[in-house]
Amino acid sequence: MTEQPVLDGPVPDELAAIAERHGQVVAAGDNAATLADFRPDRTGQLLGSARLPDHLVASRLLRLQAEPDGLVAAFIRYTAADGSETVLRSRWIKLEQGWRVTQVRNVPDTPPVMAAAGPRDDGLDRPHWEGLRAGEVRIQRCAPCGHWIWAPQPLCPRCHSFDVTWPAVEPTGTIYAWTRTWQAFSSELSGHVPFVIVVAEMGTAGGRRLLGVLCDGDGADVRIGLPVRGEIDPAPSPDAWPVLRWRLG
């Protein structure tokens, strides 16, 4: 017996069957049929956006939700052969040729986990990363003149002392700049777009700015000047590194 999807808001009658069928062709690995459901001018972006396990065995349309600008979000759950479940949210738009997917993402919204996390090859920023391991946000500061330095340098650009320190700072600040990235520029970003990157200005570190992903940024009303608080995402494995994230509030 098929469970009916939850309908949230005014949702066109025909869309439930279209989205249900879309889930079935995706689960069946029918690429041609999947692509035919995509908005033609953004198939490349859509293909890179979501991440699904191989060998899907089932799909189920969980929910249809009316959104602004006439879009409708479809939440479809995919089940893999190993029993794991992945939910994708596809946003549908009514074009002349019919309903098409104009955006898709994995839910819940999780930040990309990048293999690049960790000190650079020359080790200049290593104390920062080791600080994150110790649960602290450490920023470079000149010992003699007190100048805050970011990105890290071999010496203080102001007084030319090589005596630089790495004090821990309270990870709070305000949003100085932000962008919401929609394009999966590498496969590591697939399954996490769109995500929001913020540059946070830290009064606790002489106004230095630290960049990081804003947690739950996809649907957030992000504005320059809003306060943010840093969190440390633990390392995904013992030989990987923790990463600083930002959160509104």
Binding site: A151, W182, G212
Partner: protein, 389 residues
Amino acid sequence: MNRSLRGAAAVAGIGSTPYYKRGTSPHSALRLILEAILAACADAGLDAHDVDGFVSYANDLNEGLAVGAALGVREVRWSTMVWGGGGGGVAAAVNAAAAAVACGQAEHVIVYRGITEADDGRQSYGKGHFPPLLSAHGVLTPVQVCALRTQRMLEVDGVPWSALEALVQASYYHAQRNPDAVGYGRPLDHETYADCRWVSEPLRLYDCSRENDGAAAVLVTSAERARDLRQVPAFVLSGVQGAGPDWSESAENNAAYTSAGFHPAMVARMWAEAEVKAGEVDVVQVYENFSGPAVASLIDLGLCPPGPEAGSFMTVPNLIAPDGALPVNTAGGNIAEGFVHGIGLVLEAVRQIRGSSASQVPRADVSLLLGGPVAPLVSATVFGSPATI
């Protein structure tokens, strides 16, 4: 001692391969560079064996000495790579060549840039500029950094969105008149622009430059020599390049965050040496990695007012040849002509001085080239017609 570059050097030849869709060049980047150099020399009426200097930028894979060897030149006297990422080095490369010929280090210097995806890989323009403090957070490409800057320019400085679109629309307008442009025959309307996909907010697909396979080259020589060659010389009136104190590799900590990088001292030096004021510029080729930083460049130079007023200046009628107040990117630019790290902008700046652009500005005596916005360095060259000397 005359310490000015003004009028001492000129571009005497230009050459280019077609812009191929990225990954589709039939030849290596080296071969394309050689084709472009031969075309530039033929344009000037110079035997390519007489080239004695090479300058490139943005870590071009083909060193000047190897290029010289391939050409069998009589002697390589000058070989320079401009440090610093991206298109920031494009005008700096012209300036380096001009400096070399101005002080007699070389006579015929080629400035070149060639890219093929097969040789350079994808996104070769960003290599080496995304350390872990960026890449650990999913910041992998220039568009994301430029989006951060553009967002603040829009949200805090108050530059209206329409300024970005006007630059893009002007580029596409000019590309419709340039049969060599990748965007030729593909006009862009407002609806298509406004409805295209986000790449990284606030930048959409059409705000972004293309990526092409191709190569182009220009021949820089002394003013005296240029007068003997076949073409109307495009004289170098001034050239500036570089970065302010906190500009490069600062993980988004530069003070002038919404600037393109043309800091006030650099801009003042450029106008002073050229003996030109902002209002006397006839036409601009402004490097647009993305629309927002190009607008920031025009603001930095004082060619466009800052803040909300930018919207009243940055309109399509103002930005198109022949009658706009300040025609920009008259061949279509990186956005609509094609992208080989901005080298095409140099050729178009020269065409405007010669009077040979497909979107010619009448009596273009002062033609400005701006390279780099938001790159680790920026650079500019002011070209002048013989009437300015």
